[in-house]
């Protein structure tokens, strides 16, 4: 048996492509333009998003793993990739009442995965919208 080592972390990066438009009915057309700039263009635009998922837990002495990567892949595939990849985020029911900024996408992905991952702690979800900007949601 390996000695007690406590918590370790496992991370995995996934990609999905989707379109969105940053626009809210709570603001006037001019205010939307001022708040969101070119992201408010009427027909939307798209990104190749990178979704980084970090989980933590005890390392199982039998497997040497925090969790089996196949199970993590399946959860992300079922909850996130199939739902959002090659879609228009604005049309998803989760974005009916919130603007699909990457902050909100990050939060939505965190909540979807938190409900699906039982045996480990979901530490963070990081969504990279481009190479130069990214957003993180952490548990508690």
């Amino acid at each position: 048996m390996s000695p007690e080592v406590g918590r370790a972390y496992f991370g995995r990066r996934y990609t999905l492509s989707a379109s969105h438009r940053l626009h809210t009915e709570a603001l006037s057309a001019d205010e939307n333009r001022a708040a969101y700039g070119k992201c408010n263009n009427p027909h939307g635009h798209g990104h190749n998003y990178i979704v980084e998922v970090l989980v933590s837990g005890e390392v199982d002495p039998e497997t040497g793993m925090v969790m089996n990567m196949v199970a993590l892949d399946a959860a992300v595939q079922n909850q996130v990739i199939e739902r959002f990849d090659h879609t228009n985020l604005n049309l998803d029911i989760l974005f009916v009442n919130r603007v699909p900024t990457t902050e909100n996408l990050c939060r939505v992905v965190f909540e979807l995965l938190k409900g699906a991952l039982r045996s480990v702690e979901l530490e963070h979800v990081r969504v990279e919208e481009t190479e130069n900007n990214f957003f993180e949601c952490k548990g508690n």
């Binding site: 048996m1 390996s2 007690e4 080592v5 406590g6 918590r7 370790a8 972390y9 496992f10 991370g11 995995r12 990066r13 996934y14 390392v59 002495p61 039998e62 497997t63 040497g64 793993m65 925090v66 089996n68 990567m69 196949v70």
Partner: protein
């Protein structure tokens, strides 16, 4: 407190196998990683230390010193090696001991164990985090078990 990270790369081969399981169970749990002929990766190791910058040098630690520590404590033992066959912490166990499978999680923990005494002995900075990328999409990290 300032966190300073040094990155290093190494290449090694490994396979995943639990000797107390049947071949079928190993293949079911570990998939292609259970191929006993092994396979390899280019690993990236990130070592983060935490401390206050020295008032004279402005350094948390000397990066050349940290590079030497990483090379001496980890790379000298792991780089261009078969982890299961020739690295002591993962090599075939003695009778009655269970083996440590060279998963990315266990690599992060064992790298920490190799680095922590040297960093602590130097005084000043503390080892804060060890992160190992097995591929650009897969990584594990260890923060001392807290």
């Amino acid at each position: 407190m300032v966190f300073l990270t040094r990155r290093a790369t190494f290449s090694a081969s490994h396979y995943y196998w639990n000797g107390s399981w049947t071949a079928e169970k190993n293949e079911q749990v570990f998939g292609r990683c259970a191929n006993r002929n092994g396979h390899g990766h280019n690993y990236t190791l990130e070592v983060t230390v935490a401390g206050e910058p020295d008032q004279v040098t402005g350094f948390v630690v000397d990066l050349k010193w940290l590079k030497d520590v990483i090379e001496r404590e980890v790379l000298a033992a792991w780089d261009h090696r078969h982890l299961n066959l020739e690295v002591p912490e993962f090599a075939a166990p003695k009778l009655g001991e269970s083996q440590l499978i060279p998963t990315t999680e266990n690599l992060a923990i064992e790298a920490w164990k190799r680095l922590e005494p040297a960093v602590t002995a130097a005084g000043g900075a503390q080892l804060s985090r060890v992160r190992i990328y097995e591929t650009p999409e897969i990584f594990a990290e260890y923060r001392g078990g807290l």
